[in-house]
Amino acid sequence: MTIRGNARDIASGAALLLLTAIGVYINLDYPLGTASRMGPGYMPLVVLVALGILGFGVLLTGVRGEPQRLERWAWREAGLILAALTIFGMMLENIGMAASTVALVVISGLADRTQTLKGIAALAVALVVICWLVFTWGLQISVPFLPPFLTSH
């Protein structure tokens, strides 16, 4: 199937309209109130209507626009960076800052193909030291630095 028009705008418009539909559906649960005594659902509805109109406008300009394809996405890079951050979030409280930082550096480091094993290792060590200095010693944030099961008896 070929789509004519600006695929980026068409996709954007469709996404905005989908978002509007979801928003309106959720907003059904909230009382609208009246214009003089607005309920919690009033303002969101106004905003969602505006979003829907704009989404439609984007869609329309896309259909009529110069043909342009969707840009390729860097799935690998995006996936690695986002996975690294998510895993960091899951590890931080349980395993401590040192290990989570190493995990974050190693996983995100894979996203750059020119990176070497040595480079990652050196970076991980350097960042663990800096994080200890800045966050544990300097700002004294309440995150364990080493794995808690190692330090507590």
Partner: protein, 497 residues
Amino acid sequence: MLDNIALGLSVAFSFQNLAFSFLGCIIGTAIGVLPGVGPVATISLLLPMTFGLDPITAMIMLAGIYYGAQYGGSTSAILLNLPGEVTAVVTTLEGHKMARAGRAGASLAVAAIGSFFAGTVATLVVAAAGPLLTSVAMAFGPAEYFSLILLGLIAATVLAQGNIFKSLAMIVLGVLLGLVGTDLQSGQIRFTLGFPQLFEGVGFVPLAMGLFGIAEIIRNLECPENRSGSVARVGKLWLTKKEFSRSVPSVLRGTALGSLLGILPGGGLALSTFASYMLERKVSKYRGEFGNGAIEGVAGPESANNAASQTSFIPMLTLGIPANAVMALMIGALMIQGIQPGPRMIDEQPTLFWGLIASMWIGNLMLLVINLPLVGVWVSLLKVPYKYLYPAILVFCAIGAYSVNNSAFDVYQTVLFGVVGYALIKLEFEPAPLLIGFVLGPMLEEYLKRAMVLSRGDVSVFVERPVSAVFLLLGALALSAMILPNIRKRKNEALAE
């Protein structure tokens, strides 16, 4: 005014504030100089570090980071031909040409001196205009505020590039995101999708970091050409007599233009640099040198840029309305500190208001003093390969996002907004208006509700009150100025077919 400035200076000259202003300038320059990291990303990155400080110290440090990042951006624009953000684009035009011709030192020097002069003048403008505008704003009722915020939101899209519907959609999406959480009047919990962590709303820091920090990292990894190049040699950091006398009028013109345009809501910064460049090219006696490294083309825009970045504080400090994404970040920082920016701030927080203004000037002085001698350090930073840089930025983002509420959920929010930010880049949306909408959204709802209660549900209150009507009219004009050319263009295209 003198009393107030004295008060401000006494606040800004306290040891703690001086130290953090210095720290902010240094860190801001260091990060701003890194290619591919602009002021907005820099500030979002460092925002969590300021939360443990007093509000005034935090603001002074953030302001230092802001100017520092701008100075740093000019440095990489001149030496590397890589503008960190829109406002530095103009600097590359003449600045990098000068660097190629062996006059990088002169270019850096004129940028620093021009910026310092512009910053000094603009600080005085802020000190004078602030109280004036505040007294005007005190007379505003909810209807006026609603219309003013609406105008601010529309203005935030004026300079956005591309499809106007898309920039407006970003604003509206930002407003919608701002409504997530507990409705203060009814206690109704809205759009939290069942996550209790969202009861207090979407996290500001995760939103800013994800949209600007994480998304940019993915983007930079994708397009390696955005972040490397050969660094020009600096040479002597001095201006010849001729260069100096050629720069003086440009600096003056740039300062005036920037101070004026900076107050405008909606990216007056970028506008001021472009306007100044055009002006210099028109009036300069050395018109022929433009495009080949004319010093006026650095002196004017750099001064304009710095003046505008100073005066863009005016709407933020007096009305609580951000003129650009950086000011949206500043408001976010203040609100996390428990301070609602607006016309009351000058009376309720005079030390904050005047201390911040005084520190603007001190920050500019520090940058002049530290930047030129330290230029060697910045150059070596420019040479750090990106493959070592981005994991470090990620680590600081992750720990920073976590530390705001000590919550891993905020790290996940950062991830989510990173995805959103990357999708926005891919679909050619500009994320800055979203942040402005997010900050202004709750205020918009609040003032709409209040105005409608007062008018007993009669919408005509917004056009019957003259000040409010003027704001709405301006907004409508701006909107039609943006939409009409699009329509006319399309009509012509249609007729041509």
